[in-house]
Assembly symmetry: C2
Homo-oligomer: 219 residues x 2
């Protein structure tokens, strides 16, 4: 739960299915740490049962523009964004995130894990694809005591995986997500305002434009 | 790399295959934190290229005798140790550990991950079984940029998986592991000395006894 459009809508989608939701946020040394505040705001607004912010040791995640001083790409076209895996890729990030979610799920005796990955507007990240998610779920069901003892079957839910950004915006609005509380930008200014030009800002702009909805963040 | 018999022998086994080794140790709030010192001693003695101790947020790992105040089982028979998954099980621990290893491997441009899991004397942990390791490897090859772009194929090596504890002791000696530097106990005294009665101490004792080798830790 990063506090962006996708994870916020994903959380609302889990709530729609009447799950009692526990939100997990990662503080992994991201340069856009302002998203941690957005995550807390969104979690509170959607009435989660608990919200855990886990600090992750960033040293295993070298070589990413999200955690080091590389320049974040700006002003790229949609074709450029989709063409190859960008420098904002963080090695094995979703695998680490889902592993923590799996550990916490077992501790909470939960069996359903929601993740807001998206295979369409996904910036080319390999760990956002359905075949990756299926492989993780398969592994998870061999990994835990609860699964092996037959007490539970882990299910990784990806309600956004086949939605366009515009469809995510529409779904989020339908489910009552307050987009004014969210944060998407990879490279915000010191006051936390979005740059409007990184891949994440551009995908957000496109999503709101195509959905015909005004972004309450106002750009 | 916990600094125990298995991970120390596993590291030596990787060295035998001429890999340049990077050792990864986890500080996950374990009550037997003295093993972190053992890990550093063993890593140094086996000449690793680098040794990283990663601090893991233990709150996702509730409900384990290794991280909370539950009593560690003592004096159990071999049949009791094997019969069911014990309270020393930590939820999804190897999945979290392997995920960090995967992230670090991609950062280091490495493709080979060694883990000293054992399916025989394994205390019943589900994430020590070969079917689990295979499922993790399959997932890993769908997870990373390096794998998806065809630059590497992730291989999870488990050189100890079918060895008895006695065979691990013999292999470790053959490969020059100094067992006097290792630590196995789940519940050491304040000076770091092993209790001699927890599952881990009992499996170690049995291993040395069956191998006909004297344990330099002297019990």
């Amino acid at each position: 739960m990063s506090g962006g459009l996708d994870s916020s809508t994903c959380l609302a989608a889990a709530g729609r299915e009447s799950f009692e939701c526990s939100a997990l946020t990662f503080d992994y040394g991201q340069r856009h740490r302002v998203e941690l505040q957005a995550a807390a705001r969104v979690a509170q607004s959607l009435c989660v049962a608990r919200h855990l912010v886990v600090r992750i040791d960033l040293r295993v995640f070298g070589h990413s523009a999200l955690t080091d001083d590389s320049a974040v790409p700006k002003g790229r076209s949609e074709a450029e964004i989709s063409a190859k895996i960008p420098v904002t890729y963080v090695p094995a990030r979703n695998t680490v995130f889902l592993s923590y979610a799996l550990a916490w799920a077992e501790t909470l005796e939960a069996s359903d894990i929601f993740i807001g990955v998206n295979a369409l507007d996904y910036s080319g990240y390999p760990d956002c694809r359905p075949e990756y998610i299926e492989a993780f779920e398969r592994m998870a069901n061999l990994a835990t005591k609860a699964a092996v003892e037959g007490r539970t079957r882990i299910k990784i839910h990806t309600p956004l995986i086949w939605l366009s950004k515009a469809e995510i915006v529409k779904l989020g609005r339908e489910l009552g997500v307050d987009f004014g509380l969210t944060h998407s930008c990879y490279d915000p200014d010191p006051a936390g305002r979005p740059c409007g030009a990184c891949d994440s800002c551009l995908l957000r702009k496109k999503g709101f434009a195509e959905a015909g909805i005004k972004d309450p963040l106002g750009f």
